[in-house]
Amino acid sequence: MSVFDGLPVWIAVIVAICLVAGAAITFVGTVGLARFPTFYQRIHAPTLGTSFGAFFVIVGSMVFFTALEARPVIHEVLILVFVLITTPVTLMLLARAALYRDRAEGNDVGADMPAAENRSARSDVGDTDQTGL
């Protein structure tokens, strides 16, 4: 643990806060993933992790290495950028696909229309997947 000893305490505190905050936010996000009753609600949960969860951890990392190596270490920002760019792609594709799957199974969750989500929610809960795949 010798590498840590050279760091000023205030840096350590900042890093610690960042890390724990980021991890906690991400954790809560997955709690949402586990807890929310419908799929469409669940898609919002991971974005906690991809936004501030990742943000805090990455900031913590940047601060830490910058202090450690005594020069700006900011390459981690790339991760944040890419996460911010790529996560929506999955979510968009997935949500849209889910809508169509619900539609195809007769849960009229509005193909292009906002509709009562409750109906789809009902069909979502406890419905095991029978895609044949």
Binding site: I85, R96, Y100, A104, A111, Q130, L133
Partner: protein, 974 residues
């Protein structure tokens, strides 16, 4: 010198002749016969000329090196016994050739016949002239093979095919037994040289291996000489052309067995086991053959069974182990050859002239062919043992041997009694043969009127019958010296006293002869009514027909049992095979470790809570995948991804960043790959009504047990290794030299591209091969009927598009991908940049050609995902096949470039270059190698993925079977 040459010539000449004859045109009957005749005459002459050299117990030897270190040399060796056989084989061979010239139809491919006959003659000569046990086996088997071909000469006949096969199977089996026996014999003696073996009788007879050796050799002799219970192949072999029967089945091949017994008599004979087996097998054969011969309706059948019986007689004599019996045996070998060959020829003439060999249809032939009849009658008389003929003399000697008193009562009684009965039977069948065929009312239903054959065709019979007479009347002059020479080569100098004379006074043997003659005549008279009924086959034992039993046994053993055994011992299903593999692997790993694997220190030291949580997920994912893979393939695929992620995290945790990167990237590609494949798999729905008990079927339980054991085994092995001190292995060298000698700080990468670059070269070759294989296979891809239609989702979406006014074909897809596609395209340059970075830094930090290549390939795939196959290939010419070639070539060339510097393949060039602006830069040829890896990986990965992706295009195209699809994949273009 002449001696060596002539010996060699004796064996080689027939084979040479055979080859020459074989190349004659199909119709060249005359020339073929002439050449064969010349060969036979030459051989006879050679044999006759060598007599002077072998007389007086001299042994001629000529040795050629073949496999000297194992004691297997070609030794041509001639002593008295083999001289006698050589002469017989050559001279009777000549007569048979002459006979066959007229016997064989002009329509037959006669050159083939003579070629085989000559080859057989060569094999036979090689056998009798063998001076080496193994060489003898060799020629022994050759005689079987050529006899097989000769019997099956008229292969369009089912009988010929069956007879040939049966003969080969039985005699061939005997040959294999002989091989084993000779090996043991040679082992006991310490040499395969016959002369050494013959001198080592005492060692052999007292050796513990004597009995198995004897049994094996006897098996060979008995099968070859048609002894009970292997006798039945011989009558079946009568489907052969008659010259073949006359030659092989009377004079030569069937004598191989008795020759062998006589040859090895000094070594093997004289023990009780020899006596009991040989004598009684011979006796049984003698009796059975003679009995069966009486009731045959086929002329050749009678002769065949008679041959069996006479061979039995000879074997009995050899079994008795007395010198005089041996003399009688050798004498009878020669006598039987002469009269039986002539009888076969006569039978052949009858067959030829009348068109039948069925005794029931024949009669009164003496009127049509008096000369032939006379000859046959004389020969038959010899066969029956009528005085003044050669058969009488040897039979007399046989009787006198059986009549000797023996302390064992059973032997004392059984030998003479059986001898007399068999003698009587011989008289009966000979009598029947003569009377039925040549006398009585002439047959009426023949196809043509029989008449005498061409004079030259009869000539061989005349010569042989003359020999019977001469030997029978003046034995001491005609055969005496030669017999003595032959016998003395076996018995050595101390020949027993025997007299070759027609009259020995009134004695026991004569009495026995008289009883046999009288009994035979009486039996014939008694049997006439039965025989007149024309039933084929002997009464009482007909249902014990050897051939049928043999065929059934063969089918049972070689087909039915073999099939069920094959099914029992093997499987064509995959799951049992894999289960066996797992079980065997468990066994292999467990057996050595039963001795213990040393102390296993169980400890929870160094537990990392984060990683433990990761592995809780990882294990849950693994088990989940295992349970979901049948009905929820997508779920299983994703769960597999979860397990893969846990693996990657572990790699990072324990200092293997390169592995983590590789694992993650491969994970992504594999997921896409399997997804591409899922499109073509049948849908599979969980059957709600499935019997819950099926989950606990024995097979599943077995598989579960195997899986748990294998898993536990791997866990234990890895734990055992992880918790003990690492050996002082080769790793240190790499750590020491990676930077100073390899020019890289990332030791793993330096190992991959430098220290063990050859592995990497191989590894990328594998990748290239696999890509080409998938491409090749997918060119022939035919989707199953139920997966040809577009996926259900697309169909429903198309329907919606058609229904709705604001939609047109493809709207849903384009809307679906509208924003994602934009992002995916922008990401492409970023991925290219990342790939370039991973490639260039690999030597010093995690990365390298493979990682970069996969990254790049993912970039390409992303574009396919966003835009579809057509869209991408309209814009990018990827040409993956050329990438593969280029990558491999680059890597190969880099490796071979080292040759220019006079160093071995893959020796890297490494130096720091000082450049004006850029400063000090490392220049390593390993980077070039890594570039090759990169290029190949991109090409191979893209080719694999795109080749699968192209199948959708093919299926979607109007001609569902269109081949356009993956053909583009290689062009990847336009």
């Amino acid at each position: 010198m002449f001696e060596h040459a002539s010996l060699l010539f004796l064996v080689l000449l027939p084979f040479l002749g055979s080859i020459v004859v074989a190349f004659l045109p199909t119709r060249a009957r005359g020339i073929a016969a002439a050449i064969s005749g010349i060969v036979a005459i030459a051989l006879t002459a050679l044999a006759v000329l060598s007599y002077g050299d072998v007389a007086g117990e001299r042994v001629l030897r000529s040795e050629l090196q073949w496999l000297p270190q194992l004691g297997l040399n070609v030794i041509i060796r001639m002593d008295g016994l083999s001289w006698l056989f050589t002469t017989m084989i050559a001279s009777i061979g000549g007569l048979v050739v002459l006979y066959a010239r007229y016997y064989m139809s002009a329509k037959d491919p006669v050159p083939r016949f003579f070629a085989l006959l000559l080859a057989f003659m060569g094999a036979m000569l090689g056998m009798v002239l063998s001076g080496n046990l193994i060489q003898l086996v060799l020629f022994w088997e050759l005689t079987s093979i050529f006899s097989f071909l000769l019997i099956g000469y008229w292969h369009q006949n089912a009988a010929a095919r069956d007879g040939a096969r049966m003969a080969l199977v039985i005699t061939g089996t005997g040959g294999l037994a002989l091989f084993a026996g000779m090996l043991l014999l040679g082992h006991m003696v310490g040499s395969f040289d016959l002369d050494v073996v013959l001198a080592s009788g005492d060692i052999v007879r007292t050796h513990p291996l004597y009995t198995p050796t004897l049994v094996l050799i006897l098996l060979a002799a008995f099968t070859k000489s048609a002894q009970f219970p292997f006798h039945f192949w011989l009558p079946r072999a009568m489907a052969a052309p008659t010259p073949v029967s006359a030659y092989l089945h009377s004079a030569t091949m069937v004598k191989a067995g008795v020759f062998l017994l006589a040859l090895l008599w000094p070594v093997l004979a004289g023990t009780p086991i020899w006596f009991w087996i040989v004598t009684y097998v011979g006796l049984a054969t003698l009796l059975l053959g003679a009995y069966s011969a009486i009731f045959q309706q086929d002329l050749k059948g009678v002769l065949a069974y008679s041959t069996v019986s006479h061979l039995g007689l000879i074997v009995t004599l050899l079994g008795m182990s007395t010198p005089l019996a041996l003399v009688a045996a050798v004498f009878h070998i020669a006598n039987h050859a002469t009269f039986k060959a002539s009888l076969f020829m006569a039978a052949g003439i009858i067959d030829h002239e009348t068109g039948t060999r069925d005794i029931r249809r024949l009669g009164g032939l003496a009127r049509f062919m008096p000369a032939t009849a006379t000859l046959a009658i004389v020969a038959s008389a010899a066969m029956a043992g009528v005085p003044l003929l050669n058969g009488f003399l040897s039979k007399e000697m046989f009787f006198s041997e059986t009549a000797l008193r023996n302390p064992i009562p059973f032997v004392d009684v059984s030998l003479p009694v059986v001898a007399i009965i068999a003698g009587a039977f011989a008289v009966t069948y000979s009598l029947r043969f003569i009377l039925k065929v040549f006398f009585g009312p002439p047959s009426t239903d023949l196809d043509r009127t029989p008449h005498e054959p061409p004079a030259l065709m009869r000539r061989p019979i005349e010569i042989l019958v003359l020999a019977c007479l001469l030997v029978g009347i003046i034995p001491a002059i005609t055969i005496g010296p030669f017999l003595a020479t032959a016998v003395s080569s076996v018995l050595g100098p101390d020949l027993p006293y025997y007299s070759l004379a027609v009259w020995h006074g009134l004695n026991m043997p004569l009495l026995m002869s008289v009883v046999a003659l009288g009994g035979g005549v009486l039996l014939y008279v008694l049997l006439r009514p039965y025989l007149a009924r024309g039933i084929d086959g002997p009464p009482f034992i007909a249902h014990l027909a050897g051939p049928r039993i043999f065929e059934r046994l063969l089918i049972l053993l070689s087909v039915k049992w073999a099939k069920s055994l094959e099914r029992l011992l093997g499987t064509r299903r995959l799951q049992p095979q894999l289960a066996i593999l797992v079980a065997v692997a468990i066994l292999a790993a467990v057996t050595p470790t039963l001795a213990g694997v040393g102390p296993l220190r169980f400890s929870f030291a160094g537990v990392e809570p984060g990683l433990v949580l990761v592995w809780i997920v990882g294990m849950a994912c693994a088990v989940g995948a295992a349970t979901q893979a049948k009905y929820h393939r997508l779920a299983a695929l994703m769960l597999m991804g979860g397990a893969g992620l846990a693996t990657s995290v572990t790699f990072v945790w324990y200092s293997a960043p390169d592995l983590a990167l590789t694992q993650l990237l491969v994970e992504v590609v594999t997921t896409i790959l399997i997804l591409l494949g899922l499109r073509w798999l049948p849908k599979r729905f969980e059957d709600a009504g499935i019997d819950p008990l099926r989950k606990f079927s024995p097979r599943r339980l077995r598989d579960l047990a195997l899986a748990i054991m294998a898993g536990a085994g791997m866990a234990l092995l890895s734990y055992a290794v992880m918790t003990r001190d690492a050996p002082d292995g080769i790793a240190r060298f790499f750590l020491d030299n990676a930077y100073s000698e390899g020019g890289g700080r990332n030791v793993v990468n330096v190992i991959l591209v430098d220290f063990r670059g050859f592995d990497t070269l191989g590894e990328i070759t594998v990748l290239g091969i696999v890509a080409l294989t998938t491409y090749a296979l997918l060119r022939r891809f035919r989707p199953a009927a139920d997966s040809i239609p577009r996926p259900e989702q697309q169909r429903i979406q198309s329907e919606v598009e058609v229904e709705r006014a604001d939609h047109e074909e493809g709207t849903i897809l384009s809307d679906f991908l509208f924003v994602p596609a934009v992002i995916m395209r922008w990401l492409f340059p970023a991925i290219v940049t990342l790939a370039a970075f991973l490639l260039l830094r690999g030597h010093d930090l995690p990365g390298g050609g493979f990682i970069a290549g996969i990254t790049m390939a993912i970039g390409f795939i992303l574009q396919y995902l966003a835009g579809g196959t057509r869209w991408v290939e309209d814009r990018l010419r990827i040409l993956p096949v050329y990438w593969i070639a280029a990558g491999l070539l680059l890597a190969l060339a880099t490796g071979a470039g080292a040759w220019l510097f006079g160093v071995p393949f893959l020796t890297t060039y490494f130096q720091y270059a000082d450049l004006p602006v850029l400063g000090r830069l490392p220049v390593a040829s390993a980077l070039l190698f890594d570039l090759g890896v990169f290029v190949l990986v991109v090409g191979a990965t893209v080719l694999i993925l795109v080749a699968i992706a192209h199948q959708s295009l093919r299926a979607a195209s109007p001609r569902a079977k269109g081949a356009s699809g993956s053909a583009d994949a290689s062009r990847g273009a336009s």
